[in-house]
């Protein structure tokens, strides 16, 4: 029972670079291109992939990701496409692949079924933006059964008690939300991010990824000076939307700390 995500984070900690975690939604602009784009991210320095499952009501997402996921849904995205994408991507690159999904699709697929099929496809686990550990008994049990990572969020507003709970229930890493807000590029990484990471350390966190609002190489470097991973999403999605697969590759290469 080991986490491949944790192994990657540990290895990059030894080399001193830290991990770049890249987000793209499945099915945008098409299923095939989303798979190609994800592979390209890894070839250009992304260490861990976070594949978004398009959902009709994405309350944690800003406009860039909303528009991309709505396009994927309008293009006929089905949940089974997420497993197809994980399978094809993990066959081509060795980076671990986490799915980022709102909870209802998992619930409707059947939590155990979802975990089983994700594991069978070679997926590493789930990031769950609208599922807090308090409500996650079923998912935590399934994740243990199928040896999957479970990444819960920690926010600047979380109490120390809740941070400790998140650290205890997470495997892979704790997703530290850098700012009080939704996804989307911001000029500065909030000072709240650093203090949140410090607070997570004090309750025992060993693997932390910082996300929301990170969009430049400087921000990635800054975050990786105090956290194991920097999570970048909207700027990659925008590059893919504007310039296709080659553009998203260039964007990843620019962001990569290596």
């Amino acid at each position: 029972m080991t986490s491949k995500v944790e192994a990657v984070l540990d290895a990059l900690k030894v080399t001193g670079t830290g991990a770049l975690i890249g987000y793209l939604p499945v099915g945008f602009p098409t299923l095939a291109e989303s798979i190609e784009a994800a592979v390209t991210l890894v070839e250009n320095g992304v260490d861990i992939l976070e594949l978004g499952v398009p959902y009709s009501d994405p309350v944690m997402d800003g406009l860039v990701i909303q528009e991309a996921t709505q396009t994927a849904l309008a293009g006929g995205f089905r949940l089974s496409d997420a497993f197809t994408a994980v399978k094809e991507i993990t066959a081509r690159v060795s980076a671990p692949v986490l799915l980022m999904t709102y909870y209802n699709p998992v619930l409707q697929y059947g939590v155990d079924n979802f975990a089983r099929d994700l594991a069978a496809a070679g997926g590493a686990g789930l990031i769950t933006p609208d599922l807090i550990p308090d409500e996650a008994h079923e998912w935590i049990a399934a994740a243990e059964k199928y040896d999957l990572d479970r990444v819960f969020l920690a926010a600047p507003s979380s109490t120390d008690e809740r941070l400790a709970q998140a650290v205890k229930q997470c495997r892979g890493f704790v997703y530290a939300v850098s700012t009080m807000g939704i996804t989307g590029a911001r000029t500065d990484v909030d000072a709240a991010a650093h203090s949140l990471v410090t607070r997570l350390r004090s309750v025992g966190a060993t693997h932390i990824g910082v996300g929301v609002g990170i969009s430049t190489a400087d921000q990635v470097t800054e975050v990786l000076s105090y956290a194991e991973g920097a999570i970048v999403g909207s700027v990659l999605v925008k590059a893919l939307a504007d310039g296709g697969v080659p553009a998203v590759g260039r964007c990843a290469a620019e962001l990569s700390p290596k």
């Binding site: 309350v59 944690m60 709505q70 209802n104 933006p129 609208d130 969020l153 507003s157 979380s158 939300v177």
Partner: protein, 401 residues
């Protein structure tokens, strides 16, 4: 335990808090503040006084015999929430939450609205308490409820048309939640129905249960007994839970909610969440919802913007599953016929939402027979719907040259 005593966060398998972690602190803060306020006589007396001097409570009941002639001889009694200030039941919850927001030191309130009734009520409370107010409203709804947009703006609120997703109530809630995640420090999300994460379903219910508590006494005084059926329309379910709640433990009183069947359940264009949905998680709670096989929310349809919602409050889902309440559906056409009938027989123009309950009562009366007593929550007045009704019935004269 009495059914009335359920405090959440769960109603059976329904309810809960399926929200981003960023909101948990605010929900905890709100839960604690609400529990404190609930036990604080000064909070209760402030709210009661506001209802007496501002809302116009208690609202009266009106028996409608000419309307009831079309209902198989049943006696039909309306609880007149349409006579409240701002024209619907929504003000009950809004004043309660605005008082809480004030206690929490929040200077800004945000709200979602479908028909605009909740948005108008929220804008009204914001004006009364001197708070900043932003109302999210689906772009589709800003068009079909333009009069209410004007009312909100006149009251000083900012109305933000929501252009994502289906551009209706569900997307307005998404946008309000995004705003709240980013501005939770100074902002209270004044959610307008008994849906959403805990404590909203319980708190909003508690602010509306005054409807049923008053009506229960009023019907007893008028008829000497409890009604056979208590009924209301159900979108998110706030007016229905408001009138049901006082009767939950009166085992002989049937509770029937009427959802919107839109163009007909068989057409797929409806908002009959209980009839056609299945349990899932939407907007922070587990409840019945309209969704496809993958768990993507399906767009609803109703001629009434206020019922055009693919979810329903978790307490209703629980009442359905334990068999305490039943939920049926009424088409656009049936509702519009009932709207006209009440207007012409009683001189009361109801909201299109409310007309679903009126249409349902006509059916219930025929089923129950003479001498049965039906209590309806007449939840809102129809002024806001005149454009829709005028078009529907073709009752405006052509434009003069």
């Amino acid at each position: 335990m009495a059914l009335r005593d359920e405090l959440g966060p769960y109603f059976g398998e329904f309810g809960g808090r399926f929200v981003p972690e960023s909101l948990v602190a605010a929900l905890d803060e709100l839960s604690a503040a609400y529990m404190t306020a609930k036990l604080d006589p000064s909070f209760q007396s402030e709210l009661t006084e506001l209802h007496r001097t501002y809302t116009g409570r208690p609202s009266i009941i009106t028996e409608v015999p000419r309307f009831a002639e079309h209902a198989g001889g049943a006696r039909i009694i309306l609880k007149r929430e349409d006579l409240n200030h701002t024209g619907s039941h929504k003000i009950n919850n809004v004043l309660g939450q605005a008082l809480l927001a004030k206690r929490l030191g929040k200077s800004r309130i945000i709200a979602e609205t479908g028909a605009g009734q909740h948005g108008v009520a929220a804008a009204t409370a914001a004006a009364l308490f001197g708070m900043e107010c932003v109302v999210y409203m689906g772009e589709v709804d800003t068009v079909r409820q333009a009069l209410n947009v004007a009312r909100m703006r006149l009251l000083g609120a900012e109305v933000v048309p929501v252009t994502t997703g289906s551009k209706t109530l569900k997307d307005a809630i998404n946008e309000a939640m995004r705003d709240w995640v980013a501005n939770v420090d100074n902002t209270h999300y004044l959610l307008g129905t008994v849906a959403g994460p805990h404590p909203f379903p319980v708190m909003v219910r508690d602010f509306h249960k005054i409807i049923g508590e008053e009506a229960r006494e009023q019907v007893l005084a008028l008829t000497g007994r409890l009604p056979d059926v208590v009924t209301a329309c159900v979108g998110g379910g706030s007016n229905a839970i408001g009138i049901f709640h006082a009767f939950l433990d009166d085992v002989d009183v049937k509770l029937v909610g009427f959802e919107a069947a839109g163009r007909g359940i068989e057409t797929g264009e409806h908002a009959a969440t209980m009839a056609m949905g299945r349990p899932g998680v939407l907007h922070g709670a587990r409840s019945y919802m309209l969704q496809d096989a993958d768990g993507q929310t399906v767009e609803s349809h109703s001629i009434s913007a206020g019922l055009d919602y693919p979810g329903v409050g978790p307490e209703h889902a629980w009442l359905k599953d334990i068999g305490r309440a039943t939920y049926r559906s009424i088409t656009d056409a049936e509702a519009m016929d009932a709207l006209r009938l009440l207007s012409r027989t009683e001189g009361i123009i109801p909201a299109i939402e409310t007309a679903h309950a009126l249409a349902g009562a006509l059916k219930l009366g025929r089923e129950l027979g003479p001498d049965s007593i039906i209590l309806i929550n007449n939840s809102g007045r129809g002024d806001k719907d005149m454009e829709t009704a005028a078009k529907y019935f073709g009752i405006l004269d052509g434009e003069t040259k």
